[in-house]
Structures are given as structure tokens and as C-alpha cells.
Symmetry: C2
Subunit: 146 residues, 2 copies
Amino acid sequence: MMEITTKFKIDQPTKEVFDAIVNPNKIGNFWFSSSSERWEQGKMVTLRYDEYEAKGVITVLEIQENKKIVFSWGAESGEGTVVTITLEDLDHTSTKIEVIESGFKEDDPEIVNIMLGQKGGWVYMLSCLKAYLEQGITTLRASLIH
Amino acid sequence: MMEITTKFKIDQPTKEVFDAIVNPNKIGNFWFSSSSERWEQGKMVTLRYDEYEAKGVITVLEIQENKKIVFSWGAESGEGTVVTITLEDLDHTSTKIEVIESGFKEDDPEIVNIMLGQKGGWVYMLSCLKAYLEQGITTLRASLIH
């Protein structure tokens, strides 16, 4: 089973972590530059990365308020994966966030490099999310050089 | 060639980035809890991670002041690798830092998981280093859950 799991502890309630991801007014502080609209189940949302001159469309497969976000992306390039973000309330003031990206193609000769790139991306996104939610820092993102 | 390369841009001069890594009074702000002494060529240095109840010894193979740090680690577990950290001055106020970890064993059945773990670790360390040097944030580290 080719998947990547990344887990972080963030010292903020689950609703703050959830909202940072689905709210298009917040995502630019720690992840993509912009999100075309609020993430809701069944929606297709366009994400832009101005710094890398990139954009992509995600399909939001499932939303459980303050608990779970599932989306697919990358289908247009033939390398589609599914991302499952789960939020676990630890003590009403902190959250365990788990990101699982699955569906990588085992027979792709570039599979290891692709997975390493995605792993780095998730750790970076979660570091930036933590810095944003705990400290209000919005300048960590977009400094990973490809 | 099994190696992992991770590159970041940090908005601080190379000497600040270099000192944060080799100076035992600074490392606890963004990476390990402690370093037994200043990193100098030929030295063996003990690094502790109190949060994970772990420690390890590195051998500093090469130091070029403000430019390069090369060390080996993990030999005691039979999974030794070499880490080469290179600092490139961009404009006297910012630095491109590149970390290459090499020497992973291709025939290890756990090779992909090991490399994914290390990749995540490097992106996390560099995120924490950037937050520390640019913003003085020392609370990002040790929140990646294994």
C-alpha cells in the first residue's frame, strides 16, 4: 500500500485547524497562495501557488466539520492521489492532525522521488500551519526550493 | 544513488545560519534538545532529543566556516549515512541552504520508509531553523508525531 502518513501536534482547537484549511481567507497564510472558494463536500476548488507559477484543482470528497477533510487531486496529470486529513481533539486546546496521501502508482519508475517530494511538502505545510496558528507567522511558506 | 536533497531559502546571512547549527547554545531552539559541544572538524558530538528520549553521536568530517558542514551519523545502528550541508550566500542578507543525506542502503527492505522519514525530518528541521532565525520562534520543533 503506497501511502504517506504525516502527523503533527498543533496547540490550537480542532475548529481553528479545520477553518485554516477550508477557509479561502486563511490558506494563503501557510499553504497555497489562494483557494477559489470555501472547501465543501462535492466542490471542485482551484488552488494556486503563485510563487511556483502552478495551479491545480482538487475535488472535495468528504467534509466532517472540525474532524475530517478528504480530497483528490492530480487526476489530470495521471498521478491522482487521495488526501485524508483527520483532526483529533486532544484536550480542547490542542489538536493532533494526521495527513494520509494514498494512491501512488507502485509501478511508476519515479515513485520514490514523487513520494519524497510529497512527504517533504506535507511536513512543510504542517510546520507552516503550526507557526501560523500558534504564532501568527505567515512568512514561512514558499521557501522550499525545488 | 540513494540520497535525499532538501533546499531552503532563509532570509539571514550565511554566518547566522552556520552558527545556529554548530553552536550548542542555539541548536535547542530549532532542532535537537542539545549538542555536547561546538561542531568542529574531526570532533565527535553527542546530540540529544529529550522529547523522543533519543540520543546519537555524529562525527564531524568537514567544516568550512559559513560554507559547509559534513558529518556522519547512525553507524552504530548499521544504517550510517553522511550529511552534507552547504550554505550559499545569495545577497549578503539571505542564504540558500542545501542538505544532502547520502549512503542509504538500497537493499534494505525498509529503505523507502527510512528515506521518507529522513526527508520529513530535514524539511521540518529547515522550517524550524527558518522560523528561529527569521522570527525568533523556538516553539516549532518536536511536534512531529512518529
